[in-house]
Every structure is written in structure tokens, then in C-alpha cells.
């Protein structure tokens, strides 16, 4: 206890010192707000995002900060994954801390709560990991840098059709989760557009563990592939049971963003081989900017590899910093007008906002295939 309080004192002294120093140079930091899940069961997403931001923050400040030498700073607020807490955090950041811009929140549900509040107070809010439909329809101050499912899934399905000539598929989706359901809606529309025949559509609950009824039916229909929208735990179970029931390996899975996780290979092992997913980013993308990012991330965080959430956060902070520079002042209205015009090429590829404040460019989307329990780029 005593050791801890001494450490707190030391931290306070250091903080005080740095604040005085900043004032002496008359270069006060530009403080942004961020709402992420830093505690609780979904904190791995929020912490990955925080690491991405912190890495970008260090890079930006090393290069001289924003607005001709003012350092950038981020005030983090924890939402613990609850929409009420995200809402309270947004109100605190806007009303008390008076931040000119908010990064986050982590989940789409949280954005549906916090977005309208930021929009009401005319403070831009930039989601880096919110992929559901209708996020930016909240209002003109709501942006996102994460590619919505509606942009990624069509690319995956189109690639599958072109490469493997699939004609008839079975569809499975989790119908009790907003994320998997909205991905299914995109899959359905996209399959129709590509003229791929859907033999059957089966549903399950996100906590189910037995999928044999649905898979037996699918097996009898003999599809070319199975299109699957699920969270990674359910997806792993489905792929394992599909192989156990004797669905041949040439019937591969095509997944939504929920399957885009290394955990799929860890749990399902060989059963997951051949699974196709679309991703806005891939750790093994060979370009120099991406490799530099991956190495810097590994150095800073003791060998941990970044995931797509960290990569999206990393790029987002550069995009926001660029907008602040273009705006010429840490002013919400000016930043909002500047954001929409930003053009930036980062680790995810070329980026700009569309008129509806979504990412305009989908050329950064890569299709990955699972081989030997690991995702690699589809050749």
C-alpha cells in the first residue's frame, strides 16, 4: 500500500512537472477524448485499440505534434462495454473536458448511444471499430474509419465466385446478435446480386454448442460452400462439427468479420482449413509502411502482434491529426469540415471519407484463407 501511494505521488509530481514545462513553452497539448472498453470481458478489443492509438500518438508527437508544434494528447474513458457507460463517458468528455473530438466507442451498440449525444453538441466522433449498418446515419458529426461489413463481405464473396466458381451455397447465421445478424443481411443482398443460389438459410444462437441438425440438413443439400456469419466461438464449433458429420473438405466456409480471428485456427485446427474471410488489414501485408508498423508495435508491446483493431486505430489517429492541422485550430466545427477532405495512405492502404462519412476506398480489402490453422493471403 505504501509503495503504491509513493508511486502515485511520483506520477503526480512528474505529471505536474510536465504540465508546468508545457506551459512555459506556451505549447499546450491538444487533448482529444477516447471511449474504449478497457475493463471487462470485451476489453481485448478496447486495449488493442488503445495500443494502436498510443503508438500513433508517440509517432505524431515525435514528429512535432500538430498545429506547428503542439503535442497531441488523448483522455481515455472506459465504457466497460455498456452502452450507458459509453453515453456517460461521451457526456463527460464533451461537457467537462471540452474535447474537440472523440475517438471510439468500441462497439456499434455503444456508438448508437454515444453518437447522438456528440452529434447534438456538434462534436465530431470517429469510430474505429464500428462496422454495423446505420452508424454514420446518426448525424453529420459521426464518422468511421472502419470498413463496414457492407464493403468487405461483397469483396469476399466475389473473390470466392471468381476463384472457386461457387454456384450453390448454404447460409448459416447467429440470429440473436446484432453484429452477426447485420452481417447476414449484407451476405443475403450480396449473394442475390452475384447470382449465387442460396439452398437454405439456417440460424443458431450465439451460445449454442450443438449445430448437428442444421449441418445435417446442409450436408444433404450438397452445396459448393457454406456462408457463415458467427462470432468466433460459435464459428469454430460449427466448422469442427461440419467435418465430424462428414461434410467434405472441398465444401469450404466463407465467413464474415466474426471469423477473422486467429482464435478460429487455434480452436478448430485442421477443420478450419480453407475458410475464406475478408479483412480490411492483414498482419502479413508486405508493404514497407505496414511492416514498419508491425515491428514498432512488437517492440513497444513486448512481442505482441497487432490485430486489425490496432491497425485501424493507428491509421485513424494520423487521419485525425491531419484534419486538425488542416483545420488550423482545435475547433470541432473546423475539424469536422477538414475531416471529410482528408486523404491519407497508411497501413490499411489509401483512405478518404465518402460523402456519408464512411471509408470511400475498399481497395485495401484483402481476402485471407486459412491454411494449417493460420490465415494467409489468398494467392
Amino acid at each position: 500500500m505504501r509503495a503504491m501511494s509513493r508511486r502515485v505521488l511520483l506520477a503526480a509530481a512528474l505529471l505536474g512537472g510536465s504540465l508546468v514545462g508545457a506551459q512555459a513553452q506556451d505549447k499546450s497539448p491538444v487533448k482529444l477524448g477516447a471511449i474504449e472498453i478497457l475493463t471487462g470481458p470485451n476489453s481485448r478489443y478496447g486495449i488493442a485499440i488503445q495500443r494502436g492509438f498510443d503508438l500513433a500518438l508517440a509517432d505524431i508527437n515525435k514528429a512535432g505534434g500538430v498545429l506547428g508544434g503542439r503535442p497531441l494528447a488523448i483522455a481515455y474513458e472506459d465504457s466497460a462495454g455498456a452502452k450507458e457507460q459509453a453515453l456517460n463517458a461521451a457526456r463527460k468528455l464533451i461537457g467537462r473536458d471540452k474535447v474537440p473530438l472523440i475517438l471510439g466507442p468500441t462497439l456499434s451498440n455503444e456508438m448508437f448511444a454515444a453518437g447522438p449525444v456528440a452529434n447534438e453538441r456538434k462534436v465530431p466522433i470517429v469510430g474505429t471499430s464500428t462496422t454495423a449498418n446505420g452508424i454514420t446515419a446518426i448525424g453529420p458529426y459521426v464518422f468511421r474509419t472502419s470498413l463496414p461489413e457492407a464493403d468487405v463481405i461483397p469483396v469476399t464473396l466475389k473473390t470466392a465466385q471468381a476463384k472457386f466458381g461457387i454456384k450453390r451455397v448454404a447460409v448459416m447465421y447467429g440470429n440473436d446478435d446484432a453484429f452477426t445478424k447485420s452481417a447476414y443481411d449484407v451476405m443475403k443482398a450480396s449473394l442475390e446480386k452475384l447470382g449465387i443460389e442460396t439452398l437454405t438459410t439456417e440460424t443458431f444462437g450465439s451460445k449454442d454448442s450443438d449445430f448437428s441438425a442444421q449441418l445435417t440438413k446442409i450436408k444433404a443439400l450438397n452445396p459448393d460452400a457454406i456462408v457463415l456469419s458467427a462470432l468466433v466461438e460459435a464459428a469454430s464449433g460449427i466448422e469442427l462439427q461440419a467435418r465430424q458429420l462428414g461434410i467434405p473438405e472441398k465444401v469450404f466456409f466463407i465467413g464474415g468479420n466474426g471469423l477473422n480471428s486467429p482464435k478460429l485456427g487455434d480452436i478448430a485446427g485442421k477443420a478450419a482449413d480453407g475458410t475464406l474471410v475478408g479483412s480490411p488489414w492483414f498482419v502479413g501485408k508486405p508493404d514497407a509502411a505496414n511492416q514498419a508498423f508491425v515491428n514498432a508495435f512488437k517492440d513497444k508491446y513486448g512481442g505482441d502482434l497487432p490485430d486489425q483493431f490496432a491497425a485501424q486505430a493507428y491509421d485513424t489517429l494520423f487521419i485525425v491529426a491531419k484534419a486538425i492541422d488542416a483545420a488550423g485550430a482545435p475547433d470541432s466545427e473546423k475539424i469536422k469540415d477538414a475531416l471529410i477532405k482528408v486523404k491519407y495512405t497508411g497501413v490499411m492502404g489509401p483512405f478518404s471519407f465518402s460523402e456519408t462519412r464512411d471509408p470511400a476506398d475498399t481497395s485495401g480489402v484483402v481476402v485471407l484463407v486459412m491454411k494449417g490453422g493460420k490465415f494467409q493471403l489468398l494467392q
Binding site: D78, A80, K83, N88, N109, A178
Partner: protein
């Protein structure tokens, strides 16, 4: 000065709403606990009320007052229907039956595409607000305090302490139980409607088992000696996570610790005292 005050109010607006709504929920679970029953269905009734109210304003554009009445009536009707068979059960069996009810309503909302299914209902218009929430809370608090001091209140207390003895003394047990359940579900429904109209978005997973336990914990922390006690409990449990925000990573741990200590050292709640009888 005025501007600072206005900013302060704006910043904590959601929290002020939540304190009021949770106060009403605490009162709703108090009504059931006061007759010695254990219900874990309050979250489900709240959800039914929230969906009823939100659907009425979003899809039919009815005035907020009408939506509130609907949000009280529909869960009350549901309670009347399920009350018949389930109130033959007592104690832990009733708790299990009401958990089942909660799970069924959750699955109905999930699969009901008209009400948004898994995606929930969004862009609910902002109605009611602080005045409606605290007005309702005040009316219920005064009303229930008056009831607690009356003949009915004495009968409820007798049921809670010893059901058999209360029955022998002429208390109509089944009727009291049913009325308590119906009234409490109407209150939970109203709370759901009020909260839906200040948070702009509701989803089917908000009214599940976790929410039911949270509502029950308001009364456990506060006590059920008087209507004020559960409201105090809900206020503390709602404010704690925000008051502890400066603790950052330790926030939820300290939050849990405080609750555990309170329950260990104050097993009858923070406000265990009963209301003195006047009449």
C-alpha cells in the same frame, strides 16, 4: 455561473435519468419482495414496457402519455396471465419460473423482425425526460409509503414475516400476491418506457438475466423495510461506477468490493428500519 450549471447538468444528464429510472425499478421489485415473493421477472416486464412504449411512439406516433399508459398496461396484462399459474409457486421455484419468463420474452424480441429483431429499435424520439421520470418516482414513493402505513401495508408485512400466520388471520394471500405482481410489473413497464425515451436505442439483450439480478440487488443493498430503502440502494449502485471513474483500472474492482462489504456488514440493507404506523 448559469452556463457552468447548464454544462454540469448536460454532462450528467444520462446519469440523472438512470438514477430516476432505476429508482422506479427498485420500487417495482420492492412491491413483490414486500409480500415475501422473489421475482426475477422485473427486467422482462421492463423490456415489455420499453418495447410497447417505443413501438407506440416510433411506429404509430402516439403522444407520450398514451405510450406510458400502454407501457403500464401491457406488462400488467402479461403479469395477470402468467401470475395465475406461477403464483402457486413460492420462494426459489417462483424465481426460476420468472427467469424462464425473462428468457422467453428475450427470445420473442430477438425473433420479432417488426421490432428490429437482434438489431433492436433505434431513433426513438426523446420524450418525457427528467420531469416525467422524477414525477413518476415521487408519486410512486409517496403512494407506496402511504400504502406501507395502511392496513394493506400491515397485511403485506405479515405475509412477508409468516405466511401461514397471515393466512390464518384472514389475509387473502393469493389476491395480495397477484395484485403485488401486477402492480410491480406495471411499474417496471413504465420505467422501461421512460428509459427507452431518453436513450434513443433499445435492444433485446438489455432486459435479460443480468438486468434482472441488478434490479434485485437494488433492494438487497437498500433493504425492504420502507419504500425509500430500495431507492437509496439503486441510487448508490447507479452512481458508484461513475463516482469511481477516476480510479480507472481499479474502478470495477472497488465497485464490487464496496457492494460485498455492504452486504456482509448490513445484511438487512442500508436502511433496515420499518415505517412507523400512524392509522
Amino acid at each position: 455561473m448559469w452556463e457552468t450549471l447548464d454544462d454540469f447538468y448536460w454532462t450528467y444528464q444520462s446519469l440523472i435519468h438512470a438514477v430516476g429510472v432505476n429508482g422506479i425499478l427498485a420500487l417495482s421489485v420492492y412491491v413483490v419482495l414486500a409480500v415475501g415473493q422473489l421475482s426475477l421477472g422485473q427486467a422482462a416486464f421492463m423490456g415489455v414496457g420499453a418495447y410497447t412504449g417505443a413501438l407506440l411512439t416510433v411506429k404509430f406516433g402516439v403522444p407520450f402519455g398514451v405510450a406510458m399508459v400502454g407501457a403500464a398496461l401491457v406488462p400488467a396484462l402479461l403479469a395477470l396471465v402468467v401470475g395465475g399459474p406461477t403464483l402457486r409457486l413460492t420462494g426459489v421455484y417462483l424465481a426460476i419460473a420468472t427467469i424462464g419468463l425473462g428468457e422467453i420474452t428475450r427470445i420473442v424480441f430477438l425473433n420479432w423482425d417488426y421490432a428490429g429483431g437482434a438489431l433492436g429499435l433505434s431513433s426513438i424520439p426523446e420524450r418525457g425526460g427528467v420531469a416525467a421520470i422524477y414525477g413518476t418516482l415521487a408519486v410512486l414513493l409517496v403512494g407506496l409509503t402511504l400504502v406501507a402505513r395502511s392496513r394493506v401495508g400491515r397485511a403485506m408485512e405479515a405475509m412477508r414475516e409468516d405466511e401461514a400466520a397471515a393466512g390464518v388471520m384472514g389475509v387473502n394471500l393469493p389476491r395480495y400476491r397477484l395484485v403485488a405482481l401486477v402492480v410491480s410489473s406495471a411499474m417496471a413497464g413504465v420505467a422501461g418506457c421512460l428509459s427507452a425515451h431518453v436513450s434513443s436505442f433499445i435492444g433485446p439483450n438489455e432486459y435479460g438475466f443480468e438486468a434482472a439480478v441488478t434490479i434485485l440487488s437494488y433492494a438487497l443493498l437498500g433493504g425492504i423495510g420502507s419504500p425509500l430503502a430500495p431507492v437509496l440502494g439503486s441510487t448508490i449502485l447507479t452512481l458508484l461506477p461513475e463516482v469511481l471513474r477516476p480510479l480507472a483500472d481499479f474502478r470495477l474492482m472497488v465497485n464490487g468490493l464496496i457492494i460485498v462489504l455492504a452486504v456482509l456488514f448490513m445484511p438487512r440493507g442500508i436502511l433496515p428500519w420499518r415505517i412507523a404506523r400512524t392509522g
